[in-house]
Symmetry: C2
Subunit: 442 residues, 2 copies
């Protein structure tokens, strides 16, 4: 069997990283980021196209210079629960911070979404790195890098332990014998670790997929190791084909080294494909989008985000890039460290950094349907991804991809022609995790 490509849709609402100008598009409602009908429509379009998942990003901090996307938006779990009952096959992956949510609450909410959706939930585990966020949760400074990643790993392990609280046959509900629950099949966790103490059990049984799927976005050393240990899906940093191949190989190698099957971690690169009838028309549309987004002040805010919500507007734009190495170190943001390295190596001003920061958002998948299908097939064959996390400007751009590129990928046997399963695990080809408590009994 040919290996198949997985596709996810990343709907933005209005605005978003690299999509500053979307709110100006007359085909998108100005309040799309808080309009549940917008997300339901996007989810249904993605399901109609047989995509694997809908992916919802998050931020817990805003200020007036942040990208419009984060300014006004629904919390991912409430959003996805509402979408769940209007879809039947598509996976629902929500972002939640392990830094500012307790494992018991995370286990309940994602477990509930998993039941509501019939086994389609995924948790994108993030750590929260900026001072702005920490100040919304009572802390003066954000947690340091090692603490955040240690906490994230322990959080995932606690949450997974809680998800297994009930064995699958714990509820005989036998009226004749008068037995609703078999109490020997309800298990406390009694976890005591460095960051958490959680007794359990969770007051929720397992769903048809056993446990929600764990996603992560690991770029740094610690992030990659966390992914290798616990992630089943990963959002890759992207870049050139060579960058993507190196990242892909590294994650698969680390996953094998962690004693796991490398097929059980699905690597998604980010793709904002732009498709039109001809390569030339697609390039024109891509340029138009870049132009709409070209807002220097917002790019300054976006750059600041990579440094933990740092305010770069206070510096002289035409002086050399300021010394903000301490922010990169504290946050452990490899993105920030790379920006500093490049600014030093090329002796860039702040203005030049802001400009180059927005340049790198161009997708490799721009062209006529055949061109884009070829490029995707080449990248896939080169070992750069298992799936693509797709973002479109508006429904016209979405439709060009779905109607133009998807059928070509299907013809080549690279994309499904029907859903394999009703669960996210089933469609991603991930196994149902054995219940640790049932194992103990066997």
């Amino acid at each position: 069997m040919t290996r198949k490509i997985h596709l996810a849709l990343h709907p933005y609402g209005v605005g978003g990283p690299g999509q500053h100008g979307l709110w100006k598009d007359p085909s998108v409602a100005k309040n799309a980021s808080i309009d549940i009908n917008y997300y339901i429509q996007q989810a249904r379009a993605a399901e109609h196209a047989l995509f694997d998942a809908l992916f919802i990003v998050d931020s817990q901090f805003i200020n007036a210079t942040y990208p419009a996307h984060y300014l006004n938006r629904l919390e991912p779990l409430t959003l996805l629960s509402a979408v769940a009952t209007h879809t039947r096959h598509i996976g629902l992956v929500g972002t939640a911070s392990s830094t500012y949510n307790s494992p018991f609450n995370l286990a309940r909410r994602f477990g509930s979404l998993d039941h509501i959706s019939g086994g389609r939930a995924g948790w994108n585990v993030v750590t929260s790195f900026d001072t702005g966020t920490s100040r919304n949760y009572g802390l003066e400074e954000h947690l340091d890098y090692t603490t955040r990643y240690g906490r994230a790993l322990e959080s995932v392990r606690v949450v997974r332990g809680l998800w297994d609280s009930y064995e699958d046959d714990a509820f005989p509900a036998d009226v004749e014998r008068g037995v609703f629950l078999d109490p020997s099949k309800l298990h406390a966790l009694n976890h005591e670790g460095e960051h958490f103490r959680v007794d359990g059990p969770l007051n929720l049984s397992r769903s048809p997929q056993g446990q929600p799927v764990i996603f992560q976005a690991g770029v740094s050393e610690e992030g990659r190791d966390l992914a290798a240990q616990v992630a089943e899906g990963i959002y890759a940093p992207g870049g050139s084909l060579a960058d993507a191949h190196a990242y892909y190989t590294d994650i698969k190698t680390r996953t094998a080294a962690a004693g796991r099957d490398p097929e059980h971690i699905k690597i998604f690169i980010h793709g904002g494909p732009v498709v039109r009838g001809t390569d030339e028309a697609a390039r024109r549309r891509a340029a138009e989008i870049l132009d709409e987004d070209n807002d220097f002040d917002r790019n300054v805010g976006l750059l600041g985000r990579a440094f933990g919500a740092h305010d770069f507007s206070r510096y002289d734009l035409d002086a050399p890039f300021p010394d903000v190495a301490h922010l990169a170190e504290k946050g452990g943001r490899t993105g920030a460290a790379k920006i500093i390295d490049r600014a030093r190596a090329e002796n860039l001003t702040l203005r030049q950094v802001v400009e180059s920061f927005s340049e790198r958002r161009t997708s490799p998948f721009v062209g006529a349907p055949g061109t884009v299908a070829d490029t995707i097939a080449d990248w896939f064959a080169a070992g750069t991804f298992d799936g693509i996390n797709l973002a479109f400007r508006n429904n016209e751009d979405l439709n060009w991809f779905v109607d133009g590129v998807v059928p070509l990928l299907q013809e080549r046997g690279l994309f499904r022609t029907e859903y394999e399963s009703d669960t996210l695990r089933g469609n991603l080809g991930l196994p149902i995790p054995a219940n640790r408590n049932s194992l103990v009994r066997a």
Copy 2:
């Protein structure tokens, strides 16, 4: 205009306090407490009957002797988000603990539910009092009474402050001028209190009802004062007509004393009406329900719940009620204190206390439709409630009330014949809170 009665529906799923035997009912799915379609069906039935709200209780701790209801259930916010898009008028009130949720997360989730539902969200603020729950959140002992209530009051104030982060006209989204947000209309909160430090702003605008409605269930002195200060709906402890009148008068008096309009706090008593064609048939049905629930071991567990998940099965059933006064004091549970007082006064054994504990669950609203409508009208006229929080055994019991009693209340002008509004505030007759930040500007 005649004052009207408000009605809420409290769907249990399977089991629940005082409904231990519901899982044995062949007309209710055994997994109803985790089946979103069950809740959607209940919400639609309640909306068809023009009820004001759906009310979802919660618990964050289980053990095998707890009531079946809490054993396996969906988290209230995810549940209600899924229900929201399948209803258009009914309010959606979810329970969440101010003890184990941060104000920023609470503000986002209830704010998101408010947008998803178009202005129908309510937050039932509870504090978590038992050791079992605290051990699911990393604490050895639960917070003491005063700390919990101080934290609850501050939590509500912070959450309300966050809900007002954006003025209502903060997003001009003016393409010609290139202005999405008017940054002068986004306000940080900069709260620093005894329990929380939260900078804000919240990344979510206000909904059509301004803010979700705050519910609470205040029984103790501190609970009643909290209600008088911040609650807009309250779940009353019930009891006899005289008890209910005394509670109603007390809450309205305290609310006026706190400088608020007593009409702006709606008091709901709990009613589990049992209606049939004749008084005699209704009494038989009520007895049948009591009989199904009569499970001594579960009643022992339920008694323990009132004492912070205390395990009473360790004591001799026929010895005098054990000395557990320290548990009542620590938890500040007036329910527990009342049980101890009665056990002492009447010199009861543990067995007798367990039996009397289940007795007090009988509804005053049992009979033929005319009888129940008369009783409700009498209680309403006597100043015992503004609304009734209704719980039914199954859909047959629900339908007897909706088809038999509701039309009689409508004939007497005591219940609406159509919704007054699309928002919960609108239907409850509560004002839209002024945005504190708009006020500052005015």
